[in-house]
């Protein structure tokens, strides 16, 4: 790069940026996802882990906000294990939006 020209143009600039793109590291963003497991927090019992144990893909956890079960990861197989095993009938599983 020519030191008198801090902002090269055209092919020269592209070569610099292409090299830079290989070493600049990563940046992240977040997106909202509609998830299929809906927990009725009125019915859900604090301290109960039955649905969280049931999930074959471990996508449920206790919400740090509500203390109740919630779907933390967008990884549901809509198998209904959580819904069927919940002793309080607090869970309704929807078909994931992408398949509905």
């Amino acid at each position: 790069m020519n030191p008198t020209r801090p902002f090269p143009t055209g092919a020269e600039r592209e070569a610099v940026k292409a090299a830079e793109a290989r070493r600049v590291g990563n940046a992240q963003t977040t997106e909202r996802f509609d998830v299929p497991v809906i927990v009725n927090e009125e019915k859900c019992i604090s301290g109960c882990h039955i649905c969280i144990d049931s999930c074959p893909v471990d996508c449920l956890s206790v919400s740090p906000v509500s203390g109740k079960a919630h779907m933390q990861f967008d990884e549901c197989w809509y198998c209904l294990a959580c819904e069927l095993d919940c002793p309080k009938d607090a869970i309704t599983v929807k078909i994931p939006y992408l398949l509905r």
Partner: protein, 623 residues
Amino acid sequence: MEVRHTEVDVVVIGGGSAGSTAAIRAQRELPVGRVLLLEKAHVKRSGAIAIGMDGLNNAVIPGHATPEQYVKEITMANDGIVNQRAVMAYAERSFEMIRQLDGWGVKFQKTQSGDFDVKKVHHNGSYVLPMPEGYDLKKILTRTIRRAGVRVSNRVMATRLLTAEDGRVAGVIGLDVRSGDLEIVHAPTVIRCCGASGRLGLPASGYLYGTYENPANAGDGYSLAYHAGAELTGIECFQINPLIKDYNGPACAYVTGPLGGHTVNARGHRFIESDYWSGQMMLEFYRELHSENGPVYLKLDHLAPETLTEIERVLHRTERPSRGRFHAGRGHGYASDLVEMHISEIGLCSGHSGSGVWVNEKGETTVAGLYAAGDMACVPHNYLLGAMTYGEICAESALRYLRDGRPGGGTSDARATGEPPTTGALAEQIALERARLVAALGRPRGIPHHQFEYKVRRLVNDYLQPPKTANRLRLGLEHFERALDELNEVGATSPHELMRFVEAGFIRDSAEMAARASLFRTESRWGLYHYRLDYPDLDDDAWFVHVNLRKASDGRMEAFKRAVAPYVVSLDAGERRSYYRIRVPATADSGAPVVAGAKGPPPARPTEVRPASSTSTHQELPS
């Protein structure tokens, strides 16, 4: 990341159908605590089936079928490439397993006279035994595991196997997916029951977890075996299933068939005689789907209301109970609507096709002390009952090995010293694996696992989905080799993400295996499963062999041929090809069209069969 060490006699990886019976059988002859079952999920809802199963697809029941007939049928369905001894070992023991399950409380459908109510779904014989209350299956298995006294570690996934310097298996490196700690299990025998490689192709919906297989089954067993030096076989014989479009669950012709349901094209005509899932059937299905007569439907709207109620009672409660919710969400009902079908993403699964870790009739792999059962072991079309039967077979082989078969008779390092190894091969393997996992946790801003996975699986669809060509397979392979480097950019921010990071590696390994094995076999076989556009014909002269894969001494993946063992049940050439004669002839009366405006029979379609020609001659089979 804490590292804990445990030492047992038998470790079973995976608590699904095969793992349950393996652990229960091994525990029967060993002290409590000496058999450890590791399960990535929780045994009460794990494996290929989270809830239950509505029937056995391959029951060999005296009076309905013989082991010889079954071996013949499976040989035909697999175009001859089978280890018949392994299929026979299953066939001879499966009825014993049914009786055992009966004793555990599994309910099978029986006739009024008390006989097992076996149905015909296969092309030739009758092997389907309904389990109308199959939704209890997982509960029954879990209860039996508890009663047997098996020690269970839930939420621990195997990330690598340990191997001793002489190549024998020495244990498992486990990752606690909740705490992120490492559970090192030292054991002279390891029985892997890790299920299919079900997160390989990307479902057409684009939803990563909308797979046919339980997405927990990410090819763990295939990858673990490969890295431990074991051979794999038939990987090019992909699993592809006819499913309910979008929902991606089985349409269950096995359940509806005996009650009058069947597959039709958009004209309402039957086009296949047998709904049994074989590669040949899938090729006809694929052709119909992509023809002017497509798409393809499951037809139930002609059945009586009470029959539909019975069908719903089974299909909406057992294998995939959310199915009714899916139909209801779209306002569809079996009485008024046909069920639109399509074909699944590709996967590797011996339970349905023939891909898996190479095992013999004792469940032994090519690594001493290492066994495999269920969807990940190569016994073809083994399904649920095969998984359970081979779980027991593997346990018995492991017990025998513990008793008298161990080369040198040595004990594991930890057992000999009472201390975890600090030097030597095992210590090195543990340190290496720990470093790999710690590195991923050290990249919290690295590529998210789901983006890596999406990309690999999208490329699997682009380049590996049949029909296959060398050009596309080679391009795919380049991508999968690049993905090996990209995996070093994937980061994890929690133990859960670390689990997905490890799975991403399993998925990539499976993709490379699928590409290499498919490239190696330069012919077409198994209908759609290995349909090569550039080699469209079946070539028994060059390819009446197994294609196996293993890690070569230079660390690269190599493909090679293994001879098909002499048959124990012989077939004539006509029988060999019977699975290529399942298309309903175009001239036959194929029922009244249901589509408005459609008149008369469907346009003439070629009835000759490809890739195998029914008129070609074939080599004499060994008998």
